[in-house]
Amino acid sequence: MNAQPTPAPVAAVSLDPDTVAYQRFIGQMRKLWAGPLYRHLREEAAALEKGSDFEARLAGLPSHQLFGWFEYNLQNLKYSSRRGIAAAVEKHRDRIEAELAKPLPQGRLTENPALAVPDYYQENDFHQHPGGLGGDPIAAVVYRESAGAAGGVVGKAGLHDRFARAATGGAAPKRVLDIGCGFGRSTLAFANLGPEAEAVGVDLSASCVRLAAQIAETRAEGPRTRYIQADGAAVPLPDGSFDVVTSTMLLHEMPPEAIRDLIAESHRLLAPGGVAVHLDFLPPDDAFLTALYNGHSDRNAEPFMRTLAEMDLDADHKAAGFSKVEISDFAEDDGPRGETWRLPWTMIKATK
Protein backbone atom coordinates (compact mmCIF):
# COMPACT_ATOMS: atom_id res chain seq x y z
CA MET A 1 0.00 0.00 0.00
CA ASN A 2 1.33 3.41 -0.92
CA ALA A 3 1.32 5.87 1.97
CA GLN A 4 -0.37 9.18 1.22
CA PRO A 5 2.00 12.12 1.57
CA THR A 6 1.30 14.03 4.77
CA PRO A 7 0.03 17.52 3.92
CA ALA A 8 2.16 20.39 5.18
CA PRO A 9 0.76 21.81 8.43
CA VAL A 10 -1.15 25.06 8.14
CA ALA A 11 1.13 28.02 8.84
CA ALA A 12 4.05 25.64 9.29
CA VAL A 13 7.04 26.95 11.19
CA SER A 14 10.44 25.44 10.55
CA LEU A 15 12.78 25.96 13.47
CA ASP A 16 16.46 26.45 12.75
CA PRO A 17 18.74 23.70 14.11
CA ASP A 18 20.03 25.82 17.01
CA THR A 19 16.49 26.59 18.15
CA VAL A 20 15.64 22.89 17.92
CA ALA A 21 18.71 22.09 20.05
CA TYR A 22 17.82 24.80 22.55
CA GLN A 23 14.23 23.59 22.88
CA ARG A 24 15.49 20.03 23.30
CA PHE A 25 17.68 21.22 26.17
CA ILE A 26 14.69 22.96 27.78
CA GLY A 27 12.65 19.79 27.35
CA GLN A 28 15.29 17.68 29.08
CA MET A 29 15.53 20.22 31.90
CA ARG A 30 11.76 19.96 32.32
CA LYS A 31 12.07 16.19 32.61
CA LEU A 32 14.66 16.64 35.33
CA TRP A 33 12.35 19.13 37.08
CA ALA A 34 9.22 16.97 36.86
CA GLY A 35 11.08 13.79 37.83
CA PRO A 36 14.17 13.75 40.07
CA LEU A 37 13.78 17.32 41.40
CA TYR A 38 10.10 16.72 42.18
CA ARG A 39 10.86 13.46 44.01
CA HIS A 40 13.67 15.10 45.97
CA LEU A 41 11.35 17.91 47.01
CA ARG A 42 8.63 15.44 47.96
CA GLU A 43 11.05 13.58 50.24
CA GLU A 44 12.05 16.77 52.02
CA ALA A 45 8.44 18.01 52.23
CA ALA A 46 7.38 14.75 53.89
CA ALA A 47 9.36 15.79 56.94
CA LEU A 48 7.39 19.02 57.32
CA GLU A 49 4.42 19.16 59.64
CA LYS A 50 1.13 19.69 57.86
CA GLY A 51 -0.89 22.69 58.95
CA SER A 52 -2.19 26.06 57.92
CA ASP A 53 1.28 27.44 57.22
CA PHE A 54 2.48 24.37 55.29
CA GLU A 55 2.78 26.30 52.03
CA ALA A 56 4.98 28.93 53.66
CA ARG A 57 7.24 26.34 55.28
CA LEU A 58 7.48 24.42 52.03
CA ALA A 59 8.53 27.64 50.28
CA GLY A 60 11.43 27.90 52.73
CA LEU A 61 13.01 24.65 51.56
CA PRO A 62 15.96 25.19 49.18
CA SER A 63 14.70 22.28 47.10
CA HIS A 64 11.38 24.09 46.71
CA GLN A 65 13.14 27.27 45.67
CA LEU A 66 14.97 25.27 43.04
CA PHE A 67 11.72 23.61 41.92
CA GLY A 68 10.07 27.02 41.59
CA TRP A 69 13.02 28.42 39.65
CA PHE A 70 12.82 25.60 37.15
CA GLU A 71 9.05 25.85 36.79
CA TYR A 72 8.97 29.57 36.08
CA ASN A 73 12.15 29.97 34.12
CA LEU A 74 11.93 26.94 31.85
CA GLN A 75 8.50 28.06 30.66
CA ASN A 76 9.80 31.59 30.23
CA LEU A 77 12.87 30.44 28.31
CA LYS A 78 10.80 28.13 26.13
CA TYR A 79 8.62 31.02 24.99
CA SER A 80 10.61 34.20 25.29
CA SER A 81 14.36 33.63 25.13
CA ARG A 82 16.51 34.50 22.12
CA ARG A 83 15.94 30.94 20.91
CA GLY A 84 12.38 30.80 22.19
CA ILE A 85 9.26 29.87 20.27
CA ALA A 86 7.99 33.44 20.01
CA ALA A 87 11.17 34.63 18.26
CA ALA A 88 11.18 31.59 15.96
CA VAL A 89 7.58 32.17 14.87
CA GLU A 90 8.14 35.91 14.43
CA LYS A 91 10.54 35.20 11.57
CA HIS A 92 7.60 33.77 9.59
CA ARG A 93 5.07 36.49 10.47
CA ASP A 94 4.20 37.70 6.96
CA ARG A 95 3.67 34.21 5.56
CA ILE A 96 1.66 33.10 8.60
CA GLU A 97 -0.63 36.11 8.46
CA ALA A 98 -1.22 35.46 4.75
CA GLU A 99 -2.00 31.78 5.37
CA LEU A 100 -4.43 32.57 8.15
CA ALA A 101 -6.25 35.02 5.88
CA LYS A 102 -6.83 32.51 3.07
CA PRO A 103 -10.47 32.26 1.88
CA LEU A 104 -12.63 29.69 3.63
CA PRO A 105 -15.96 28.07 2.76
CA GLN A 106 -19.01 30.11 3.71
CA GLY A 107 -19.83 29.73 7.40
CA ARG A 108 -16.59 28.02 8.45
CA LEU A 109 -15.35 31.09 10.34
CA THR A 110 -17.19 33.97 11.96
CA GLU A 111 -15.00 36.73 13.31
CA ASN A 112 -16.21 39.59 15.46
CA PRO A 113 -13.81 42.54 15.40
CA ALA A 114 -16.18 44.45 17.70
CA LEU A 115 -16.09 41.75 20.39
CA ALA A 116 -15.74 43.20 23.89
CA VAL A 117 -12.86 41.19 25.35
CA PRO A 118 -13.04 40.75 29.14
CA ASP A 119 -10.45 42.59 31.21
CA TYR A 120 -9.10 39.39 32.78
CA TYR A 121 -8.27 38.08 29.33
CA GLN A 122 -6.30 41.15 28.37
CA GLU A 123 -4.46 41.57 31.64
CA ASN A 124 -2.85 38.15 31.88
CA ASP A 125 -0.13 36.55 29.83
CA PHE A 126 -1.61 33.15 30.62
CA HIS A 127 0.98 30.41 31.07
CA GLN A 128 3.55 33.09 30.22
CA HIS A 129 2.44 33.35 26.61
CA PRO A 130 4.07 36.68 25.70
CA GLY A 131 1.36 39.23 25.05
CA GLY A 132 -1.42 36.72 25.58
CA LEU A 133 -3.49 35.09 22.85
CA GLY A 134 -5.80 37.99 22.15
CA GLY A 135 -4.18 40.68 20.08
CA ASP A 136 -1.38 39.41 17.88
CA PRO A 137 -2.52 37.78 14.60
CA ILE A 138 0.16 35.09 14.91
CA ALA A 139 -0.43 34.35 18.61
CA ALA A 140 -2.22 31.08 17.83
CA VAL A 141 0.79 29.77 15.93
CA VAL A 142 3.09 30.68 18.82
CA TYR A 143 0.68 28.79 21.08
CA ARG A 144 0.60 25.74 18.81
CA GLU A 145 4.36 25.60 18.40
CA SER A 146 4.86 26.03 22.14
CA ALA A 147 2.34 23.27 22.83
CA GLY A 148 4.46 20.90 20.83
CA ALA A 149 7.83 22.04 22.17
CA ALA A 150 9.78 21.08 25.26
CA GLY A 151 7.16 18.87 26.86
CA GLY A 152 4.12 21.14 26.63
CA VAL A 153 0.91 19.61 28.01
CA VAL A 154 -1.43 20.80 25.26
CA GLY A 155 0.61 18.91 22.72
CA LYS A 156 0.37 15.59 24.52
CA ALA A 157 -0.40 12.98 21.91
CA GLY A 158 -3.97 11.80 22.06
CA LEU A 159 -5.02 13.98 24.99
CA HIS A 160 -7.97 15.59 23.22
CA ASP A 161 -9.24 12.36 21.65
CA ARG A 162 -9.00 10.64 25.03
CA PHE A 163 -10.96 13.41 26.71
CA ALA A 164 -13.63 13.51 23.98
CA ARG A 165 -14.22 9.78 24.43
CA ALA A 166 -14.30 10.04 28.23
CA ALA A 167 -16.56 13.09 28.15
CA THR A 168 -19.20 11.33 26.08
CA GLY A 169 -18.85 7.84 27.52
CA GLY A 170 -18.29 6.41 24.07
CA ALA A 171 -21.51 7.86 22.66
CA ALA A 172 -21.42 10.04 19.57
CA PRO A 173 -23.21 13.33 20.20
CA LYS A 174 -24.51 15.15 17.14
CA ARG A 175 -24.08 18.75 18.25
CA VAL A 176 -21.06 19.87 20.30
CA LEU A 177 -20.04 23.33 21.39
CA ASP A 178 -16.37 23.68 22.33
CA ILE A 179 -15.78 26.85 24.37
CA GLY A 180 -12.25 28.22 24.41
CA CYS A 181 -11.38 26.01 21.47
CA GLY A 182 -7.91 27.47 20.92
CA PHE A 183 -6.53 26.31 17.61
CA GLY A 184 -9.15 23.61 17.36
CA ARG A 185 -7.58 20.36 18.53
CA SER A 186 -10.38 19.75 21.01
CA THR A 187 -13.07 20.72 18.48
CA LEU A 188 -11.74 18.25 15.92
CA ALA A 189 -11.52 15.55 18.58
CA PHE A 190 -15.24 15.89 19.30
CA ALA A 191 -16.07 16.05 15.59
CA ASN A 192 -14.13 12.79 15.26
CA LEU A 193 -16.45 10.93 17.60
CA GLY A 194 -18.73 9.92 14.77
CA PRO A 195 -19.67 10.71 11.19
CA GLU A 196 -22.76 12.62 12.32
CA ALA A 197 -20.99 14.72 14.96
CA GLU A 198 -20.84 18.43 14.27
CA ALA A 199 -18.77 20.71 16.44
CA VAL A 200 -18.66 24.47 16.87
CA GLY A 201 -15.56 26.01 18.40
CA VAL A 202 -15.67 29.44 20.01
CA ASP A 203 -12.75 31.45 21.31
CA LEU A 204 -12.06 35.05 22.24
CA SER A 205 -8.90 35.01 20.13
CA ALA A 206 -9.32 35.89 16.45
CA SER A 207 -5.93 34.36 15.79
CA CYS A 208 -7.00 31.05 17.34
CA VAL A 209 -10.28 30.70 15.47
CA ARG A 210 -8.55 31.65 12.21
CA LEU A 211 -5.92 28.97 12.69
CA ALA A 212 -8.54 26.43 13.80
CA ALA A 213 -10.65 27.10 10.71
CA GLN A 214 -7.67 26.81 8.38
CA ILE A 215 -6.54 23.56 10.01
CA ALA A 216 -10.08 22.21 9.64
CA GLU A 217 -9.74 22.69 5.89
CA THR A 218 -7.01 20.05 5.85
CA ARG A 219 -8.91 17.44 7.85
CA ALA A 220 -11.54 14.95 6.79
CA GLU A 221 -13.79 15.91 9.71
CA GLY A 222 -13.14 19.62 9.17
CA PRO A 223 -16.31 20.29 7.14
CA ARG A 224 -18.31 19.20 10.21
CA THR A 225 -16.78 21.98 12.29
CA ARG A 226 -17.11 25.75 12.33
CA TYR A 227 -15.52 28.46 14.41
CA ILE A 228 -16.81 31.65 15.97
CA GLN A 229 -14.90 34.41 17.69
CA ALA A 230 -17.03 34.90 20.79
CA ASP A 231 -17.05 35.00 24.57
CA GLY A 232 -18.10 31.68 26.09
CA ALA A 233 -20.35 33.62 28.44
CA ALA A 234 -22.31 35.12 25.52
CA VAL A 235 -22.37 32.72 22.59
CA PRO A 236 -24.42 34.06 19.64
CA LEU A 237 -26.40 30.84 19.13
CA PRO A 238 -29.97 29.83 20.06
CA ASP A 239 -31.11 28.14 23.28
CA GLY A 240 -30.94 24.34 23.35
CA SER A 241 -28.66 24.09 20.31
CA PHE A 242 -26.26 21.44 21.65
CA ASP A 243 -26.07 17.96 23.14
CA VAL A 244 -22.64 18.65 24.65
CA VAL A 245 -20.99 21.88 25.75
CA THR A 246 -17.35 21.38 26.56
CA SER A 247 -14.10 23.15 27.37
CA THR A 248 -10.52 21.98 27.68
CA MET A 249 -8.08 23.78 29.97
CA LEU A 250 -10.26 26.89 30.00
CA LEU A 251 -11.86 27.27 33.45
CA HIS A 252 -8.54 27.84 35.21
CA GLU A 253 -7.97 30.87 32.97
CA MET A 254 -11.16 32.56 34.20
CA PRO A 255 -12.15 34.36 37.41
CA PRO A 256 -15.06 32.82 39.37
CA GLU A 257 -17.70 35.29 38.19
CA ALA A 258 -16.79 34.58 34.54
CA ILE A 259 -16.95 30.81 35.20
CA ARG A 260 -20.43 31.19 36.70
CA ASP A 261 -21.50 33.16 33.63
CA LEU A 262 -20.11 30.39 31.41
CA ILE A 263 -21.94 27.73 33.43
CA ALA A 264 -25.23 29.63 33.04
CA GLU A 265 -24.60 30.10 29.31
CA SER A 266 -23.81 26.43 28.84
CA HIS A 267 -27.11 25.55 30.53
CA ARG A 268 -28.96 27.87 28.14
CA LEU A 269 -27.25 26.37 25.11
CA LEU A 270 -27.83 22.73 26.04
CA ALA A 271 -30.87 20.75 25.00
CA PRO A 272 -32.69 18.93 27.84
CA GLY A 273 -30.58 15.95 28.91
CA GLY A 274 -27.44 17.49 27.43
CA VAL A 275 -24.15 17.56 29.30
CA ALA A 276 -21.60 20.24 30.06
CA VAL A 277 -18.21 18.64 30.47
CA HIS A 278 -14.96 20.41 31.20
CA LEU A 279 -11.38 19.18 31.40
CA ASP A 280 -9.34 21.22 33.82
CA PHE A 281 -7.16 21.11 36.92
CA LEU A 282 -8.23 20.84 40.57
CA PRO A 283 -5.93 20.03 43.48
CA PRO A 284 -6.26 16.62 45.11
CA ASP A 285 -6.79 16.20 48.85
CA ASP A 286 -3.09 16.36 49.62
CA ALA A 287 -1.31 19.33 51.23
CA PHE A 288 1.91 18.88 49.26
CA LEU A 289 0.25 18.51 45.87
CA THR A 290 -2.11 21.37 46.66
CA ALA A 291 0.88 23.58 47.50
CA LEU A 292 2.47 22.71 44.15
CA TYR A 293 -0.84 23.41 42.38
CA ASN A 294 -1.03 26.82 44.05
CA GLY A 295 2.63 27.41 43.29
CA HIS A 296 2.02 26.65 39.63
CA SER A 297 -0.79 29.21 39.72
CA ASP A 298 1.62 31.84 41.05
CA ARG A 299 4.64 30.90 38.97
CA ASN A 300 3.08 30.26 35.60
CA ALA A 301 0.86 33.34 35.26
CA GLU A 302 -2.25 31.32 36.04
CA PRO A 303 -3.85 33.47 38.75
CA PHE A 304 -7.26 31.85 38.48
CA MET A 305 -6.10 28.33 39.28
CA ARG A 306 -6.20 29.30 42.94
CA THR A 307 -9.69 30.79 42.70
CA LEU A 308 -10.98 27.84 40.64
CA ALA A 309 -9.85 25.51 43.43
CA GLU A 310 -11.82 27.57 45.96
CA MET A 311 -15.09 27.38 44.00
CA ASP A 312 -17.93 25.02 44.81
CA LEU A 313 -18.47 23.83 41.25
CA ASP A 314 -21.18 21.37 42.29
CA ALA A 315 -23.25 24.15 43.87
CA ASP A 316 -22.55 26.60 41.04
CA HIS A 317 -23.77 24.13 38.41
CA LYS A 318 -26.88 23.27 40.40
CA ALA A 319 -27.62 26.96 40.95
CA ALA A 320 -27.57 27.34 37.15
CA GLY A 321 -30.14 24.55 36.79
CA PHE A 322 -28.03 21.45 36.23
CA SER A 323 -29.45 18.33 37.89
CA LYS A 324 -26.38 16.17 38.38
CA VAL A 325 -22.69 17.06 38.76
CA GLU A 326 -19.77 14.61 38.72
CA ILE A 327 -16.18 15.66 39.40
CA SER A 328 -13.55 13.00 38.78
CA ASP A 329 -9.84 12.53 38.18
CA PHE A 330 -8.82 12.27 34.54
CA ALA A 331 -5.91 10.16 33.34
CA GLU A 332 -4.30 12.11 30.52
CA ASP A 333 -2.23 9.10 29.48
CA ASP A 334 -1.52 5.51 30.47
CA GLY A 335 1.72 6.34 32.26
CA PRO A 336 2.36 5.41 35.90
CA ARG A 337 1.28 7.92 38.53
CA GLY A 338 3.15 9.38 41.46
CA GLU A 339 6.77 9.48 40.39
CA THR A 340 6.61 12.61 38.27
CA TRP A 341 4.93 15.95 38.86
CA ARG A 342 1.83 16.38 36.78
CA LEU A 343 -0.99 18.85 36.82
CA PRO A 344 -4.04 17.28 38.49
CA TRP A 345 -6.29 16.71 35.50
CA THR A 346 -9.96 16.70 36.45
CA MET A 347 -13.18 16.14 34.52
CA ILE A 348 -16.24 18.16 35.60
CA LYS A 349 -19.46 16.84 34.11
CA ALA A 350 -22.94 18.29 34.65
CA THR A 351 -26.24 17.09 33.19
CA LYS A 352 -29.10 19.42 32.25
Binding site: P17, D18, V20, A21, Y22, R24, F25, I26, G27, Q28, M29, K31, L32, P36, L37, R39, H40, P62, Q65, L66, G68, W69, Y72, N73, N76, L77, R83, Y120, E123, N124, D125, F126, R299, A301, P303
Partner: protein, 76 residues
Protein backbone atom coordinates in the same frame (compact mmCIF):
# COMPACT_ATOMS: atom_id res chain seq x y z
CA UNK B 1 -5.16 42.07 38.51
CA UNK B 2 -2.20 41.62 36.25
CA UNK B 3 0.48 38.99 35.96
CA UNK B 4 2.89 41.05 33.95
CA UNK B 5 5.69 41.93 36.39
CA UNK B 6 8.34 44.43 35.39
CA UNK B 7 11.02 42.12 36.71
CA UNK B 8 11.11 38.33 36.80
CA UNK B 9 10.26 36.92 40.22
CA UNK B 10 13.01 35.67 42.51
CA UNK B 11 12.96 32.14 43.81
CA UNK B 12 16.15 31.62 45.77
CA UNK B 13 16.66 33.06 49.23
CA UNK B 14 19.33 35.46 48.00
CA UNK B 15 19.63 37.41 44.78
CA UNK B 16 23.19 36.33 44.01
CA UNK B 17 22.26 32.65 44.00
CA UNK B 18 19.43 33.55 41.64
CA UNK B 19 21.83 35.29 39.25
CA UNK B 20 24.52 32.63 39.40
CA UNK B 21 22.03 29.83 38.78
CA UNK B 22 20.47 31.71 35.86
CA UNK B 23 23.97 32.13 34.40
CA UNK B 24 24.80 28.46 34.82
CA UNK B 25 21.61 27.38 33.06
CA UNK B 26 22.17 29.88 30.24
CA UNK B 27 25.73 28.60 29.85
CA UNK B 28 24.59 25.00 29.80
CA UNK B 29 21.95 25.83 27.18
CA UNK B 30 24.61 27.32 24.93
CA UNK B 31 26.89 24.33 25.46
CA UNK B 32 24.01 22.03 24.57
CA UNK B 33 23.37 23.98 21.36
CA UNK B 34 27.08 23.84 20.46
CA UNK B 35 27.22 20.10 21.18
CA UNK B 36 24.48 19.58 18.63
CA UNK B 37 26.33 21.75 16.11
CA UNK B 38 29.39 19.56 16.57
CA UNK B 39 27.28 16.44 16.21
CA UNK B 40 25.83 17.74 12.93
CA UNK B 41 29.32 18.51 11.61
CA UNK B 42 30.50 15.06 12.62
CA UNK B 43 27.55 13.51 10.84
CA UNK B 44 28.26 15.58 7.72
CA UNK B 45 31.86 14.39 7.77
CA UNK B 46 30.88 10.78 8.34
CA UNK B 47 32.68 10.52 11.68
CA UNK B 48 29.62 10.45 13.95
CA UNK B 49 28.98 7.43 16.15
CA UNK B 50 26.46 5.17 14.38
CA UNK B 51 24.00 5.36 17.28
CA UNK B 52 24.25 9.14 17.76
CA UNK B 53 20.89 10.42 18.97
CA UNK B 54 20.41 14.14 19.73
CA UNK B 55 17.63 13.52 22.25
CA UNK B 56 19.65 10.95 24.18
CA UNK B 57 22.72 13.17 24.05
CA UNK B 58 20.80 16.12 25.49
CA UNK B 59 19.29 13.92 28.18
CA UNK B 60 22.64 12.59 29.34
CA UNK B 61 24.18 16.08 29.19
CA UNK B 62 21.45 17.51 31.45
CA UNK B 63 21.72 14.54 33.80
CA UNK B 64 25.51 14.91 34.01
CA UNK B 65 25.44 18.66 34.64
CA UNK B 66 22.30 19.09 36.76
CA UNK B 67 21.42 15.62 38.03
CA UNK B 68 23.23 16.19 41.31
CA UNK B 69 20.63 18.82 42.25
CA UNK B 70 18.33 15.97 43.20
CA UNK B 71 20.94 13.97 45.10
CA UNK B 72 23.08 14.41 48.19
CA UNK B 73 26.23 16.33 47.29
CA UNK B 74 28.65 13.46 47.98
CA UNK B 75 27.13 11.49 45.10
CA UNK B 76 28.26 13.95 42.44
Amino acid sequence: MTTKPDLPPGFFADAMTERVFASVVALAAEVSVLRERVARLEAAQGVAAPDADPARAAESFVADVFGHLAQPLHRI
